[in-house]
Subunit: 505 residues, 2 copies
């Protein structure tokens, strides 16, 4: 994704150069292009530069402890463990750093205590048994920690188990050689604590990059992606006159250069891992910025993301119809253009409104908007119903069908199918082709029914989304814009009552 | 996913215990349940145990270098770096270990050379400037490596940049204190090399777990998941008599306890990251087992996975129709039961056949199967066409519509809509409800059209899948079962010719 973006940029820059400094030698030109790419990459998200400089600062600070004479005399060579701790602990976001620091410190503490206990035990059992006990204990610790980190619950703490393993080995082995495991452990814990404190201080106090803030932005971006790609897909469907069928190869590669939003929607579908890891990090962060209360419901963000993905699947299906082989004729689509457009725009507005509410951390009243989305969806359904005869194109087959009784049952249908097949076989190829093309015209019309059904289903799913966002905003105590009724109760949604009506009817 | 599976097992075990050893005290019982869970977890994939024991063995081997007197005298205390290397490098699969080892060794080498150069430079510039130069260089290395690892191309080598950073700091700082940076670097490289050799030897020679094998199995599993979930979804659709509408809450949580395959299909949708990381690791592996030739096309597996995911989106959409609010009546569904079942079973068979071919690394002739899938899909289309009048239920509105001229244009439709609305407003609520319920009955019938359209689109997408698998099997030189024509050319696919006919018509 990113590299694609940059390719685009490279192209535009190439043009710029040739007009301004066309006389530069080729190599210099390439270097400049390269520098420009880096510059653009840094400008795209200034946090990248902040993060890099912060790492530089953290390792510099910890190195000063050795470079200056005074602290070096206090801490001696074990201080190099601080450098390792900083380099390993320093993560992009504050939460991830805390999470890794927790793993490292707890792992080291646990390993230290265990190593001291086993070392003392080994020491008591005499010089022959000592290395044997140590060796066996190393094997056991290695196996057990490795097995435990595969256990699903412990997967996020994988690094902690690694820390336990190597800290234990280092302490017990160097304790064996120096003869003083307690001193070795304590020195190591000192050094790790110093490294951890420096890493956390620099990461938290100087331009902190919060995982929570990133998660918040990521979710809002997903809302806009889904809304944009819905509009893009529907607009393309309505404007498409059927002349430019997408190529098989295009569909295969999932690349539609003229549909930039589609890519974003697809990346939303694959964003679950990203949201989850950000939420995991965010849980480690203290209250900060706009997220002021303790135990902020970060996991709700993941849930809202899941419901949004659930809506995005429908957009993918709409997209599938847009690029399928059999297409409804343009004039048929244009009949429903107003209703489809209206439902789409209303739905996209609602999604954007939900996204904006999350972005601003506000609870606004969406009942008008929700009602208008629902009624536009109903209008679309009504329009489809009124023109159902067009969609099914049954008039074209009236010669065959007029005599068939209306009651729906499998028997009359098999008769009819048999009749159809007989005709198909008896008559010549020309005639069969005629029937087939009539057939596909009708199926083509049904593809419009599919498109609208999917759109209506998408609107129906928005209810879950509204509910999920409502739940998030209550859990996260978003500000109320005012105190009227926030939402229509779900029961008011006409689909439900219609479904019930259907059963009764 | 895994935890869910285990919950299921816990349940079944609970029953087992109460029948066999019901008199055990509660705590002991819990401990046994816990042990049983671990046992089941290990049995589920025996590689987990192998991996754990191998880690134990590797750290034991490297510790022996210190525990025995002879090697310790040769290597002295710097050997502890070997322990660190083993603990950090040892990954689950051979490929991942190679990948991490490459990062570690190359990073250390680069950092070592750079550190020696800068240290010599600093040494020459006198005792005052030396710590300043070292400090500045540490800051620059910290910032540059951190920035570079954010660059999309370098993201897989993130660990390498981390290694460069801390190795550089460690060597230059301890070189400054010991006054001999070259000796420090060489000792460190020695130790790292020993650790790396032990880690790789144990990982590769003793019951190796190949990332390639895992990737291969994972892809085959995905094929079966998609086939199973397709069949499950369609069978449920056909057997569902409409009486048990799924609850909104169920849909919201995406949890359908009676649809085990649906979960698997969803996990297939989220498997892209897993496949990509396995393919990245597999590229580092030497030819092994069944994958005997160099440069085996592991990246093709990722591509086939992407095309399969593209098919799985349609299954998700089918699933959406299955659980949507408005449902086609059961008797209407049953009309098309034969055709829908046939198309589904044929499609599922084809997917399973493709999966089996990959599994067995064979190229079998699928033309008969492909043709039969296509013809079953055509039969379904024809059936839909023949019964289009049932789907649209236009007869129910014949009072309103019979007088409306057939030509398709927006004008007559708006007239009709206006008329419809007028009626709707003028007449009482009862009447409007009647009209609405007629309306929804018709829309309900159209939902069957949606379902079948999606199924037909799914079949159309299988073509891409056949093509992708064919490409993979050629790249990977799968064995030919025999030498007849492997596939129908894409042009023969009737959808295409029909689409063309449509345009002409």
């Amino acid at each position: 994704m990113m590299s694609l973006k940059m390719n685009g940029k490279e192209g535009s820059f190439g043009i710029k150069i040739s007009s301004n400094e066309g006389k530069l030698p080729e190599t210099r030109n390439k270097f400049k292009v390269w520098m420009y790419k880096i510059w653009e990459f840094a400008k795209e998200d200034i946090n990248r530069v902040t993060f890099s400089l912060k790492v530089g600062l953290a390792v510099l600070l910890v190195s000063l402890l050795i470079l200056f004479q005074a602290p070096y005399q206090v801490f001696s060579t074990s201080i190099i463990w601080s450098i390792l701790t900083v380099a390993i602990m320093f993560e992009y976001t504050v939460g991830a750093t805390f999470h890794k620091g927790f793993n490292r410190v707890l792992g080291s503490l646990f390993a230290g205590v265990l190593a001291i206990a086993i070392a003392e035990l080994a020491l008591m059992s005499g010089p022959v048994a000592e290395p044997i006990i140590i060796g066996i204990s190393i094997f056991i610790i290695g196996s057990v920690t490795s097995f435990m980190k595969l256990w699903p619950t412990f997967v996020p703490y994988e690094y902690g188990f690694r820390v336990i393993l190597f800290t234990y080995c280092l302490i017990i082995v160097s304790g064996y050689r120096s003869g003083n495991p307690i001193r070795t452990s304590i020195e190591r814990l000192y050094s790790i604590a110093i490294g951890a404190i420096i890493a956390i201080a620099v990461n938290t106090l100087i331009f902190p990059i919060w995982a929570g803030e990133q998660l918040h932005k990521e979710l809002v971006k997903s809302f806009n992606s889904v809304a944009d790609s819905l509009e893009e897909c529907v607009n393309k469907y309505l404007s498409n006159d059927g002349s430019d069928h997408s190529e098989f190869t295009n569909t295969l590669m999932d690349e539609f250069p003229d549909e930039p939003q589609y890519k974003k929607c697809r990346s939303t579908l694959n964003s679950s891992a990203k949201l989850e890891s950000l939420a995991l990090s965010a849980k480690w962060e203290p209250p900060h910025g706009r997220f002021r209360h303790l135990f902020y419901p970060w996991s709700e963000y993941v849930k809202v993301g899941a419901v949004l993905r659930y809506c995005a699947y429908e957009v993918m299906a709409l997209h599938g119809v847009l690029h399928s082989e059999i297409q409804a004729p343009y004039n048929l689509r244009s009949i429903f253009e107003t209703e489809i457009s209206e439902a789409t725009n209303k739905a996209a507005d609602l999604i954007r409104c939900l996204g904006k509410d999350i972005c601003d951390m506000k609870q606004t009243i969406k009942s008008t908007l929700v009602r208008s989305v629902r009624s536009s969806s109903e209008r679309l359904q009504r329009a489809i119903e009124t023109h159902a005869y067009l969609l099914a194109s049954s008039y074209q087959l009236s010669d065959h069908n007029s005599s068939i009784p209306l009651p729906i049952n499998g028997f009359s249908k098999s008769n009819q199918l048999a009749e159809f097949k007989r005709e198909n076989e008896e008559e010549g190829e020309m005639n069969s082709q005629r029937i087939l093309s009539v057939s596909w015209e009708s199926t083509a019309a049904l593809s419009l029914a599919t498109f609208t059904s999917l759109l209506i289903e998408f609107v129906a799913r928005l209810d879950h989304l509204v509910e999920a966002v409502h739940h998030l905003s209550q859990m996260a105590k978003f500000q109320h814009e005012n105190l009227n009724i926030f939402l229509l109760p779900i029961e008011e949604f006409n689909f439900n009552s219609m479904a019930i009506e259907l059963k009764i009817y």
